[in-house]
Assembly symmetry: C2
Homo-oligomer: 280 residues x 2
Amino acid sequence: MFDQITILAPGLLGASLGMAAKASQLARTVKVWARREEVREACLRMDWCDAGFAGLEASVEGSELAIVCAPVDIIPELVEQIRPHLGGGALITDVGSTKAAICRQCKDQAGLARFVGSHPMAGSEKSGLEHARADLFMDRPCIVTPLESTPEASLRRITAFWEGVGMRVHAVSPEEHDRIVAHISHLPHLVASLLARQLGGSPAEWAALAGNGLRDTTRIAAGSPAIWRSIFANNSAEVMHALTGLEEQLACCKSLIARQDWSAMEQFLADGQRFRKGLE
Amino acid sequence: MFDQITILAPGLLGASLGMAAKASQLARTVKVWARREEVREACLRMDWCDAGFAGLEASVEGSELAIVCAPVDIIPELVEQIRPHLGGGALITDVGSTKAAICRQCKDQAGLARFVGSHPMAGSEKSGLEHARADLFMDRPCIVTPLESTPEASLRRITAFWEGVGMRVHAVSPEEHDRIVAHISHLPHLVASLLARQLGGSPAEWAALAGNGLRDTTRIAAGSPAIWRSIFANNSAEVMHALTGLEEQLACCKSLIARQDWSAMEQFLADGQRFRKGLE
Protein backbone atom coordinates (compact mmCIF):
# COMPACT_ATOMS: atom_id res chain seq x y z
CA MET A 1 0.00 0.00 0.00
CA PHE A 2 2.85 2.39 0.83
CA ASP A 3 6.27 1.89 -0.61
CA GLN A 4 7.90 3.78 2.24
CA ILE A 5 6.67 5.38 5.47
CA THR A 6 8.45 7.30 8.25
CA ILE A 7 7.55 7.09 11.93
CA LEU A 8 8.73 10.12 13.87
CA ALA A 9 9.42 9.97 17.61
CA PRO A 10 8.51 6.31 18.13
CA GLY A 11 7.38 5.28 21.59
CA LEU A 12 4.71 2.71 22.47
CA LEU A 13 2.39 3.84 19.65
CA GLY A 14 5.05 4.51 17.01
CA ALA A 15 6.94 1.25 17.49
CA SER A 16 3.70 -0.76 17.64
CA LEU A 17 2.65 0.96 14.43
CA GLY A 18 5.92 0.03 12.72
CA MET A 19 5.40 -3.60 13.72
CA ALA A 20 1.76 -3.61 12.68
CA ALA A 21 2.44 -1.86 9.34
CA LYS A 22 5.06 -4.44 8.42
CA ALA A 23 3.00 -7.37 9.69
CA SER A 24 -0.01 -6.19 7.65
CA GLN A 25 2.14 -5.46 4.60
CA LEU A 26 0.98 -1.85 4.60
CA ALA A 27 4.52 -0.57 4.11
CA ARG A 28 7.50 -2.07 2.30
CA THR A 29 10.05 0.16 4.02
CA VAL A 30 9.70 1.73 7.49
CA LYS A 31 12.10 4.49 8.49
CA VAL A 32 12.23 6.17 11.87
CA TRP A 33 13.32 9.53 13.13
CA ALA A 34 14.35 9.82 16.77
CA ARG A 35 16.35 12.52 18.50
CA ARG A 36 17.96 10.06 20.95
CA GLU A 37 20.54 7.58 19.70
CA GLU A 38 19.39 4.80 22.04
CA VAL A 39 15.87 5.02 20.60
CA ARG A 40 17.21 4.73 17.04
CA GLU A 41 19.34 1.77 18.07
CA ALA A 42 16.45 0.07 19.88
CA CYS A 43 14.29 0.45 16.75
CA LEU A 44 17.02 -0.89 14.47
CA ARG A 45 17.29 -4.00 16.62
CA MET A 46 13.63 -4.72 15.82
CA ASP A 47 12.57 -6.49 12.62
CA TRP A 48 10.18 -3.84 11.40
CA CYS A 49 12.64 -0.93 11.30
CA ASP A 50 14.65 -0.55 8.10
CA ALA A 51 16.54 2.67 8.84
CA GLY A 52 16.94 5.17 11.69
CA PHE A 53 17.79 8.86 11.34
CA ALA A 54 18.76 11.73 13.62
CA GLY A 55 18.05 14.27 10.86
CA LEU A 56 14.45 15.07 9.95
CA GLU A 57 15.12 15.72 6.26
CA ALA A 58 16.80 12.38 5.57
CA SER A 59 14.20 10.49 7.62
CA VAL A 60 11.25 11.54 5.44
CA GLU A 61 12.97 11.67 2.05
CA GLY A 62 11.02 9.51 -0.39
CA SER A 63 8.29 8.58 2.12
CA GLU A 64 4.65 8.57 1.06
CA LEU A 65 3.39 8.83 4.62
CA ALA A 66 4.91 10.33 7.76
CA ILE A 67 3.33 9.59 11.15
CA VAL A 68 4.30 12.01 13.91
CA CYS A 69 4.14 10.23 17.29
CA ALA A 70 5.52 13.06 19.44
CA PRO A 71 3.70 14.67 22.43
CA VAL A 72 0.90 16.99 21.32
CA ASP A 73 2.72 20.24 22.04
CA ILE A 74 5.54 19.54 19.59
CA ILE A 75 3.57 17.92 16.76
CA PRO A 76 2.95 21.20 14.83
CA GLU A 77 6.61 22.20 14.75
CA LEU A 78 7.68 18.73 13.58
CA VAL A 79 5.04 18.81 10.83
CA GLU A 80 6.25 22.21 9.70
CA GLN A 81 9.85 21.02 9.62
CA ILE A 82 9.25 17.85 7.59
CA ARG A 83 6.76 19.29 5.10
CA PRO A 84 9.28 20.80 2.68
CA HIS A 85 11.13 17.47 2.47
CA LEU A 86 8.18 15.27 1.54
CA GLY A 87 6.74 15.10 -1.94
CA GLY A 88 3.54 17.08 -2.71
CA GLY A 89 1.55 13.85 -2.98
CA ALA A 90 2.70 12.57 0.40
CA LEU A 91 0.54 12.55 3.53
CA ILE A 92 1.33 13.43 7.11
CA THR A 93 -0.66 12.26 10.11
CA ASP A 94 -0.12 12.05 13.86
CA VAL A 95 -1.30 10.11 16.90
CA GLY A 96 -1.98 13.05 19.22
CA SER A 97 -4.76 12.94 21.82
CA THR A 98 -5.99 16.45 20.97
CA LYS A 99 -6.82 17.64 17.49
CA ALA A 100 -8.28 21.17 17.14
CA ALA A 101 -5.10 23.16 17.88
CA ILE A 102 -2.89 20.73 15.95
CA CYS A 103 -5.09 20.63 12.84
CA ARG A 104 -5.43 24.43 12.82
CA GLN A 105 -1.65 24.84 13.01
CA CYS A 106 -0.97 22.17 10.39
CA LYS A 107 -3.37 23.57 7.74
CA ASP A 108 -2.52 22.54 4.21
CA GLN A 109 -0.20 24.72 2.14
CA ALA A 110 -0.26 24.68 -1.66
CA GLY A 111 2.16 22.17 -3.18
CA LEU A 112 3.23 20.63 0.15
CA ALA A 113 2.35 17.30 1.76
CA ARG A 114 -1.13 17.29 3.30
CA PHE A 115 -1.82 16.78 7.01
CA VAL A 116 -4.81 14.73 8.18
CA GLY A 117 -5.04 14.41 11.97
CA SER A 118 -5.51 11.01 13.63
CA HIS A 119 -6.11 9.77 17.14
CA PRO A 120 -5.69 6.01 17.40
CA MET A 121 -7.22 5.19 20.80
CA ALA A 122 -4.85 2.42 21.70
CA GLY A 123 -2.68 4.05 24.35
CA SER A 124 -1.93 2.57 27.71
CA GLU A 125 -0.58 3.67 31.05
CA LYS A 126 2.61 1.96 29.87
CA SER A 127 4.81 3.94 27.56
CA GLY A 128 8.02 3.24 25.70
CA LEU A 129 9.23 1.01 22.91
CA GLU A 130 9.68 -2.01 25.16
CA HIS A 131 5.88 -2.43 25.48
CA ALA A 132 5.25 -2.24 21.72
CA ARG A 133 3.14 -4.99 20.13
CA ALA A 134 1.89 -5.55 16.60
CA ASP A 135 -1.70 -6.13 17.80
CA LEU A 136 -1.96 -2.92 19.87
CA PHE A 137 -4.42 -1.38 17.39
CA MET A 138 -6.54 -4.44 16.71
CA ASP A 139 -10.28 -3.73 17.12
CA ARG A 140 -9.58 -0.37 18.80
CA PRO A 141 -11.26 2.87 17.67
CA CYS A 142 -9.35 5.50 15.70
CA ILE A 143 -10.71 9.01 15.19
CA VAL A 144 -9.54 10.83 12.06
CA THR A 145 -10.21 14.56 11.83
CA PRO A 146 -10.33 15.93 8.28
CA LEU A 147 -10.81 19.65 7.71
CA GLU A 148 -13.38 20.89 5.19
CA SER A 149 -10.49 21.41 2.77
CA THR A 150 -9.20 17.85 3.08
CA PRO A 151 -9.67 15.98 -0.23
CA GLU A 152 -11.73 12.78 -0.06
CA ALA A 153 -8.81 10.80 -1.50
CA SER A 154 -6.47 11.83 1.33
CA LEU A 155 -9.06 10.94 3.96
CA ARG A 156 -9.65 7.57 2.28
CA ARG A 157 -5.93 6.82 2.25
CA ILE A 158 -5.44 7.63 5.95
CA THR A 159 -8.59 5.68 6.82
CA ALA A 160 -7.34 2.65 4.89
CA PHE A 161 -4.01 2.84 6.70
CA TRP A 162 -5.59 2.68 10.17
CA GLU A 163 -8.05 0.02 9.04
CA GLY A 164 -5.05 -1.90 7.73
CA VAL A 165 -3.63 -2.20 11.26
CA GLY A 166 -7.02 -3.39 12.53
CA MET A 167 -8.71 -0.21 13.76
CA ARG A 168 -12.35 0.90 13.53
CA VAL A 169 -12.11 4.37 11.98
CA HIS A 170 -14.53 7.25 12.70
CA ALA A 171 -14.20 10.65 11.02
CA VAL A 172 -15.28 13.83 12.85
CA SER A 173 -14.13 17.47 12.81
CA PRO A 174 -11.12 18.33 15.02
CA GLU A 175 -13.35 20.42 17.31
CA GLU A 176 -15.89 17.62 17.69
CA HIS A 177 -13.04 15.21 18.40
CA ASP A 178 -11.77 17.39 21.24
CA ARG A 179 -15.23 17.68 22.72
CA ILE A 180 -15.77 13.91 22.61
CA VAL A 181 -12.38 12.88 24.03
CA ALA A 182 -12.65 15.49 26.80
CA HIS A 183 -15.47 13.29 28.11
CA ILE A 184 -14.49 9.75 27.12
CA SER A 185 -10.73 9.95 27.62
CA HIS A 186 -9.45 13.11 29.32
CA LEU A 187 -12.12 13.12 32.04
CA PRO A 188 -11.54 9.45 32.98
CA HIS A 189 -7.82 10.20 33.21
CA LEU A 190 -8.43 13.12 35.58
CA VAL A 191 -10.90 11.08 37.63
CA ALA A 192 -8.30 8.34 38.07
CA SER A 193 -5.70 10.96 39.02
CA LEU A 194 -7.99 12.72 41.51
CA LEU A 195 -8.75 9.44 43.23
CA ALA A 196 -5.13 8.30 43.22
CA ARG A 197 -3.95 11.67 44.54
CA GLN A 198 -6.51 11.61 47.33
CA LEU A 199 -5.50 8.09 48.36
CA GLY A 200 -1.86 9.14 48.18
CA GLY A 201 -2.65 11.28 51.23
CA SER A 202 -3.90 8.26 53.23
CA PRO A 203 -1.87 6.14 55.67
CA ALA A 204 0.66 4.11 53.67
CA GLU A 205 -0.53 0.78 55.12
CA TRP A 206 -3.94 1.16 53.45
CA ALA A 207 -2.39 0.32 50.10
CA ALA A 208 -1.92 -3.31 51.21
CA LEU A 209 -5.72 -3.55 51.57
CA ALA A 210 -6.53 -2.31 48.07
CA GLY A 211 -8.78 -4.55 46.01
CA ASN A 212 -9.15 -4.83 42.26
CA GLY A 213 -11.75 -2.05 42.23
CA LEU A 214 -9.24 0.55 43.33
CA ARG A 215 -6.61 -0.88 40.97
CA ASP A 216 -8.91 -0.70 37.94
CA THR A 217 -10.33 2.70 38.77
CA THR A 218 -6.90 4.30 39.14
CA ARG A 219 -4.94 2.32 36.51
CA ILE A 220 -4.55 5.15 33.98
CA ALA A 221 -3.31 7.55 36.68
CA ALA A 222 0.04 5.76 36.19
CA GLY A 223 0.36 7.47 32.78
CA SER A 224 3.09 10.03 32.12
CA PRO A 225 2.37 13.39 33.85
CA ALA A 226 4.37 15.27 31.19
CA ILE A 227 2.38 13.81 28.30
CA TRP A 228 -0.97 14.38 30.02
CA ARG A 229 -0.09 17.90 31.09
CA SER A 230 0.23 18.83 27.39
CA ILE A 231 -3.03 17.10 26.54
CA PHE A 232 -4.94 19.05 29.21
CA ALA A 233 -3.24 22.31 28.19
CA ASN A 234 -4.28 21.64 24.58
CA ASN A 235 -7.91 20.88 25.42
CA SER A 236 -8.50 22.92 28.54
CA ALA A 237 -11.88 24.47 27.67
CA GLU A 238 -13.54 21.13 26.85
CA VAL A 239 -11.90 19.44 29.85
CA MET A 240 -13.31 22.18 32.10
CA HIS A 241 -16.81 21.52 30.75
CA ALA A 242 -16.41 17.82 31.47
CA LEU A 243 -15.12 18.52 35.00
CA THR A 244 -18.06 20.81 35.67
CA GLY A 245 -20.37 17.96 34.68
CA LEU A 246 -18.57 15.67 37.10
CA GLU A 247 -18.89 18.28 39.83
CA GLU A 248 -22.67 18.26 39.30
CA GLN A 249 -22.79 14.46 39.51
CA LEU A 250 -20.78 14.61 42.73
CA ALA A 251 -23.07 17.26 44.25
CA CYS A 252 -26.10 15.15 43.33
CA CYS A 253 -24.57 12.04 44.91
CA LYS A 254 -23.63 13.90 48.12
CA SER A 255 -27.12 15.30 48.40
CA LEU A 256 -28.67 11.81 48.11
CA ILE A 257 -26.44 10.56 50.92
CA ALA A 258 -27.10 13.65 53.06
CA ARG A 259 -30.85 13.09 52.65
CA GLN A 260 -30.39 9.32 53.18
CA ASP A 261 -32.49 8.79 50.08
CA TRP A 262 -31.39 5.23 49.37
CA SER A 263 -33.93 4.40 46.71
CA ALA A 264 -32.83 7.46 44.70
CA MET A 265 -29.24 6.32 45.33
CA GLU A 266 -30.02 2.89 43.91
CA GLN A 267 -31.44 4.61 40.82
CA PHE A 268 -28.32 6.79 40.58
CA LEU A 269 -26.12 3.67 40.67
CA ALA A 270 -28.39 1.92 38.17
CA ASP A 271 -27.88 4.81 35.71
CA GLY A 272 -24.11 4.26 35.89
CA GLN A 273 -24.51 0.48 35.65
CA ARG A 274 -26.61 0.81 32.50
CA PHE A 275 -23.94 2.88 30.75
CA ARG A 276 -21.11 0.56 31.84
CA LYS A 277 -22.90 -2.61 30.80
CA GLY A 278 -23.54 -0.96 27.42
CA LEU A 279 -19.77 -0.72 26.87
CA GLU A 280 -19.37 -4.51 26.82
CA MET B 1 -9.60 -27.89 60.22
CA PHE B 2 -13.41 -27.75 60.42
CA ASP B 3 -15.46 -30.88 60.39
CA GLN B 4 -18.49 -29.03 59.04
CA ILE B 5 -19.21 -25.48 57.88
CA THR B 6 -22.35 -23.76 56.58
CA ILE B 7 -22.38 -21.09 53.89
CA LEU B 8 -25.50 -18.94 54.03
CA ALA B 9 -26.84 -17.10 50.98
CA PRO B 10 -24.13 -18.21 48.55
CA GLY B 11 -23.45 -15.95 45.56
CA LEU B 12 -20.08 -15.25 43.94
CA LEU B 13 -18.27 -15.06 47.29
CA GLY B 14 -20.11 -17.87 49.07
CA ALA B 15 -19.83 -20.40 46.25
CA SER B 16 -16.17 -19.52 45.66
CA LEU B 17 -15.60 -19.99 49.37
CA GLY B 18 -17.22 -23.42 49.30
CA MET B 19 -14.95 -24.44 46.43
CA ALA B 20 -11.86 -22.99 48.06
CA ALA B 21 -12.62 -24.51 51.48
CA LYS B 22 -12.97 -27.99 49.97
CA ALA B 23 -9.96 -27.54 47.68
CA SER B 24 -7.80 -26.46 50.65
CA GLN B 25 -9.20 -29.21 52.88
CA LEU B 26 -10.38 -26.61 55.40
CA ALA B 27 -13.77 -28.28 55.73
CA ARG B 28 -14.82 -31.90 55.48
CA THR B 29 -18.51 -31.12 54.96
CA VAL B 30 -19.94 -27.94 53.40
CA LYS B 31 -23.66 -27.22 53.81
CA VAL B 32 -25.50 -24.30 52.28
CA TRP B 33 -28.61 -22.36 53.17
CA ALA B 34 -30.40 -20.54 50.37
CA ARG B 35 -33.92 -19.16 50.26
CA ARG B 36 -34.34 -19.87 46.52
CA GLU B 37 -34.63 -23.43 45.32
CA GLU B 38 -32.69 -22.83 42.11
CA VAL B 39 -29.73 -21.58 44.16
CA ARG B 40 -29.77 -24.71 46.33
CA GLU B 41 -29.98 -26.87 43.23
CA ALA B 42 -27.17 -25.00 41.49
CA CYS B 43 -24.97 -25.50 44.58
CA LEU B 44 -25.81 -29.19 44.83
CA ARG B 45 -24.73 -29.67 41.21
CA MET B 46 -21.25 -28.44 42.24
CA ASP B 47 -18.64 -30.77 43.79
CA TRP B 48 -18.03 -28.73 46.91
CA CYS B 49 -21.60 -28.68 48.21
CA ASP B 50 -22.66 -31.61 50.37
CA ALA B 51 -26.17 -30.51 51.38
CA GLY B 52 -28.59 -27.68 50.71
CA PHE B 53 -31.29 -26.38 53.05
CA ALA B 54 -34.24 -24.00 52.89
CA GLY B 55 -34.49 -23.94 56.69
CA LEU B 56 -31.93 -22.01 58.73
CA GLU B 57 -31.97 -24.33 61.73
CA ALA B 58 -31.20 -27.51 59.79
CA SER B 59 -28.56 -25.77 57.70
CA VAL B 60 -26.34 -24.85 60.66
CA GLU B 61 -26.96 -27.86 62.89
CA GLY B 62 -23.63 -29.41 63.82
CA SER B 63 -21.53 -26.80 62.01
CA GLU B 64 -18.43 -25.36 63.66
CA LEU B 65 -18.42 -22.29 61.43
CA ALA B 66 -21.21 -20.40 59.67
CA ILE B 67 -20.34 -17.81 57.02
CA VAL B 68 -23.13 -15.36 56.22
CA CYS B 69 -22.76 -14.13 52.63
CA ALA B 70 -25.97 -12.06 52.44
CA PRO B 71 -26.16 -8.31 51.61
CA VAL B 72 -25.04 -6.14 54.54
CA ASP B 73 -28.51 -5.01 55.58
CA ILE B 74 -29.77 -8.51 56.33
CA ILE B 75 -26.62 -10.00 57.91
CA PRO B 76 -27.57 -9.09 61.54
CA GLU B 77 -31.01 -10.72 61.35
CA LEU B 78 -29.57 -13.91 59.84
CA VAL B 79 -26.91 -14.04 62.56
CA GLU B 80 -29.56 -13.63 65.24
CA GLN B 81 -31.69 -16.39 63.72
CA ILE B 82 -28.93 -18.99 63.42
CA ARG B 83 -27.20 -18.32 66.76
CA PRO B 84 -29.51 -20.48 68.92
CA HIS B 85 -28.98 -23.45 66.59
CA LEU B 86 -25.19 -23.48 66.60
CA GLY B 87 -23.12 -24.91 69.47
CA GLY B 88 -21.60 -22.50 72.00
CA GLY B 89 -18.11 -23.26 70.67
CA ALA B 90 -19.07 -22.50 67.08
CA LEU B 91 -18.09 -19.34 65.22
CA ILE B 92 -20.04 -17.09 62.88
CA THR B 93 -18.51 -14.71 60.40
CA ASP B 94 -19.67 -12.81 57.31
CA VAL B 95 -18.33 -11.30 54.10
CA GLY B 96 -20.02 -7.89 54.35
CA SER B 97 -18.40 -4.74 52.97
CA THR B 98 -19.25 -2.69 56.07
CA LYS B 99 -18.48 -3.72 59.62
CA ALA B 100 -19.29 -1.23 62.39
CA ALA B 101 -23.11 -1.53 62.34
CA ILE B 102 -23.00 -5.30 61.77
CA CYS B 103 -20.49 -6.01 64.55
CA ARG B 104 -22.41 -3.80 66.98
CA GLN B 105 -25.64 -5.62 66.20
CA CYS B 106 -24.02 -9.06 66.37
CA LYS B 107 -22.35 -8.57 69.79
CA ASP B 108 -21.59 -11.81 71.62
CA GLN B 109 -24.18 -13.24 73.96
CA ALA B 110 -23.24 -15.60 76.79
CA GLY B 111 -23.34 -19.27 75.82
CA LEU B 112 -24.06 -18.64 72.13
CA ALA B 113 -21.84 -18.92 69.07
CA ARG B 114 -19.44 -15.97 68.70
CA PHE B 115 -19.49 -13.55 65.78
CA VAL B 116 -16.23 -12.20 64.32
CA GLY B 117 -16.74 -9.89 61.34
CA SER B 118 -14.80 -10.41 58.10
CA HIS B 119 -14.45 -8.55 54.84
CA PRO B 120 -12.67 -10.65 52.22
CA MET B 121 -11.78 -8.10 49.51
CA ALA B 122 -12.25 -10.38 46.57
CA GLY B 123 -15.50 -9.13 45.08
CA SER B 124 -16.01 -8.26 41.47
CA GLU B 125 -18.48 -6.37 39.32
CA LYS B 126 -19.71 -9.86 38.41
CA SER B 127 -22.02 -11.51 40.86
CA GLY B 128 -23.73 -14.87 41.08
CA LEU B 129 -22.75 -18.49 41.50
CA GLU B 130 -21.88 -18.94 37.85
CA HIS B 131 -18.75 -16.79 38.23
CA ALA B 132 -17.48 -18.66 41.31
CA ARG B 133 -13.88 -19.89 41.29
CA ALA B 134 -11.76 -21.67 43.89
CA ASP B 135 -8.89 -19.18 43.46
CA LEU B 136 -11.01 -16.04 43.96
CA PHE B 137 -9.39 -15.34 47.35
CA MET B 138 -5.80 -16.17 46.45
CA ASP B 139 -3.38 -13.38 47.46
CA ARG B 140 -6.25 -10.96 48.12
CA PRO B 141 -6.55 -8.96 51.36
CA CYS B 142 -9.09 -9.88 54.03
CA ILE B 143 -9.93 -7.53 56.89
CA VAL B 144 -11.16 -9.16 60.10
CA THR B 145 -12.74 -6.93 62.73
CA PRO B 146 -12.61 -8.34 66.28
CA LEU B 147 -14.26 -6.43 69.11
CA GLU B 148 -12.36 -5.83 72.37
CA SER B 149 -14.35 -8.70 73.84
CA THR B 150 -13.39 -11.17 71.08
CA PRO B 151 -11.18 -13.95 72.54
CA GLU B 152 -7.76 -14.37 70.92
CA ALA B 153 -8.56 -18.00 70.11
CA SER B 154 -11.67 -17.04 68.05
CA LEU B 155 -9.73 -14.40 66.13
CA ARG B 156 -6.93 -16.90 65.44
CA ARG B 157 -9.40 -19.46 64.15
CA ILE B 158 -11.12 -17.02 61.76
CA THR B 159 -7.73 -15.70 60.62
CA ALA B 160 -6.51 -19.24 59.91
CA PHE B 161 -9.66 -19.94 57.90
CA TRP B 162 -9.13 -16.97 55.55
CA GLU B 163 -5.41 -17.67 55.32
CA GLY B 164 -6.35 -21.22 54.42
CA VAL B 165 -8.10 -20.03 51.25
CA GLY B 166 -5.06 -17.93 50.36
CA MET B 167 -5.86 -14.49 51.80
CA ARG B 168 -3.59 -11.95 53.50
CA VAL B 169 -5.42 -11.18 56.76
CA HIS B 170 -5.34 -7.81 58.55
CA ALA B 171 -7.17 -7.22 61.86
CA VAL B 172 -8.57 -3.76 62.70
CA SER B 173 -11.56 -2.51 64.70
CA PRO B 174 -14.94 -2.42 62.89
CA GLU B 175 -14.92 1.41 62.97
CA GLU B 176 -11.41 1.62 61.56
CA HIS B 177 -12.43 -0.89 58.86
CA ASP B 178 -15.34 1.31 57.79
CA ARG B 179 -13.12 4.40 57.66
CA ILE B 180 -10.51 2.60 55.53
CA VAL B 181 -12.91 0.98 53.06
CA ALA B 182 -14.84 4.24 52.64
CA HIS B 183 -11.68 5.51 50.95
CA ILE B 184 -10.16 2.44 49.29
CA SER B 185 -13.35 0.68 48.15
CA HIS B 186 -16.57 2.69 48.54
CA LEU B 187 -15.13 5.93 47.12
CA PRO B 188 -13.68 4.19 44.01
CA HIS B 189 -17.08 2.61 43.45
CA LEU B 190 -18.84 5.98 43.61
CA VAL B 191 -16.20 7.59 41.39
CA ALA B 192 -16.75 4.89 38.76
CA SER B 193 -20.52 5.38 39.06
CA LEU B 194 -20.32 9.19 38.82
CA LEU B 195 -18.24 8.93 35.68
CA ALA B 196 -20.42 6.24 34.13
CA ARG B 197 -23.59 8.18 34.94
CA GLN B 198 -22.19 11.36 33.42
CA LEU B 199 -21.19 9.52 30.23
CA GLY B 200 -24.60 7.88 30.17
CA GLY B 201 -25.94 11.36 29.38
CA SER B 202 -23.69 11.70 26.31
CA PRO B 203 -24.63 10.91 22.70
CA ALA B 204 -24.96 7.13 22.35
CA GLU B 205 -22.47 6.94 19.48
CA TRP B 206 -19.62 8.08 21.75
CA ALA B 207 -19.56 4.65 23.40
CA ALA B 208 -18.10 3.13 20.22
CA LEU B 209 -15.07 5.40 20.66
CA ALA B 210 -14.34 4.37 24.23
CA GLY B 211 -10.81 3.22 24.93
CA ASN B 212 -9.48 0.96 27.66
CA GLY B 213 -9.03 3.92 30.00
CA LEU B 214 -12.76 4.53 30.22
CA ARG B 215 -13.44 0.80 30.49
CA ASP B 216 -11.03 0.33 33.41
CA THR B 217 -12.08 3.48 35.22
CA THR B 218 -15.78 2.60 35.13
CA ARG B 219 -15.56 -1.22 35.43
CA ILE B 220 -16.91 -1.48 38.98
CA ALA B 221 -19.88 0.74 38.16
CA ALA B 222 -21.37 -2.44 36.65
CA GLY B 223 -21.81 -3.83 40.18
CA SER B 224 -25.27 -4.44 41.63
CA PRO B 225 -27.04 -1.16 42.56
CA ALA B 226 -29.07 -2.95 45.26
CA ILE B 227 -25.99 -4.38 46.98
CA TRP B 228 -24.10 -1.09 46.82
CA ARG B 229 -27.06 0.95 48.00
CA SER B 230 -26.99 -1.02 51.27
CA ILE B 231 -23.24 -0.59 51.60
CA PHE B 232 -23.50 3.19 51.25
CA ALA B 233 -26.46 3.32 53.63
CA ASN B 234 -24.43 1.35 56.17
CA ASN B 235 -21.34 3.54 55.92
CA SER B 236 -22.78 6.91 54.97
CA ALA B 237 -20.83 9.13 57.38
CA GLU B 238 -17.41 7.81 56.31
CA VAL B 239 -18.42 7.82 52.63
CA MET B 240 -19.41 11.49 52.96
CA HIS B 241 -15.96 12.31 54.37
CA ALA B 242 -14.32 10.54 51.47
CA LEU B 243 -16.55 12.36 48.94
CA THR B 244 -15.72 15.69 50.54
CA GLY B 245 -12.03 14.89 50.06
CA LEU B 246 -12.69 14.11 46.40
CA GLU B 247 -14.58 17.38 46.04
CA GLU B 248 -11.49 19.22 47.30
CA GLN B 249 -9.25 17.39 44.81
CA LEU B 250 -11.66 18.31 42.04
CA ALA B 251 -11.75 21.98 43.06
CA CYS B 252 -7.95 22.04 43.15
CA CYS B 253 -7.72 20.47 39.68
CA LYS B 254 -10.26 22.91 38.21
CA SER B 255 -8.40 25.85 39.68
CA LEU B 256 -5.11 24.69 38.10
CA ILE B 257 -6.80 24.47 34.70
CA ALA B 258 -8.56 27.83 35.15
CA ARG B 259 -5.20 29.44 35.98
CA GLN B 260 -3.52 27.47 33.15
CA ASP B 261 -0.83 26.49 35.63
CA TRP B 262 0.52 23.50 33.72
CA SER B 263 3.61 22.88 35.78
CA ALA B 264 1.46 22.63 38.93
CA MET B 265 -0.87 20.36 36.91
CA GLU B 266 2.07 18.11 36.05
CA GLN B 267 2.90 17.91 39.76
CA PHE B 268 -0.75 17.13 40.56
CA LEU B 269 -0.70 14.25 38.05
CA ALA B 270 2.68 13.08 39.37
CA ASP B 271 1.19 12.80 42.89
CA GLY B 272 -1.49 10.46 41.54
CA GLN B 273 1.05 8.53 39.47
CA ARG B 274 3.26 7.95 42.54
CA PHE B 275 0.35 6.43 44.50
CA ARG B 276 -0.77 4.24 41.59
CA LYS B 277 2.70 2.93 40.82
CA GLY B 278 3.03 2.10 44.51
CA LEU B 279 0.06 -0.29 44.20
CA GLU B 280 1.96 -2.58 41.80
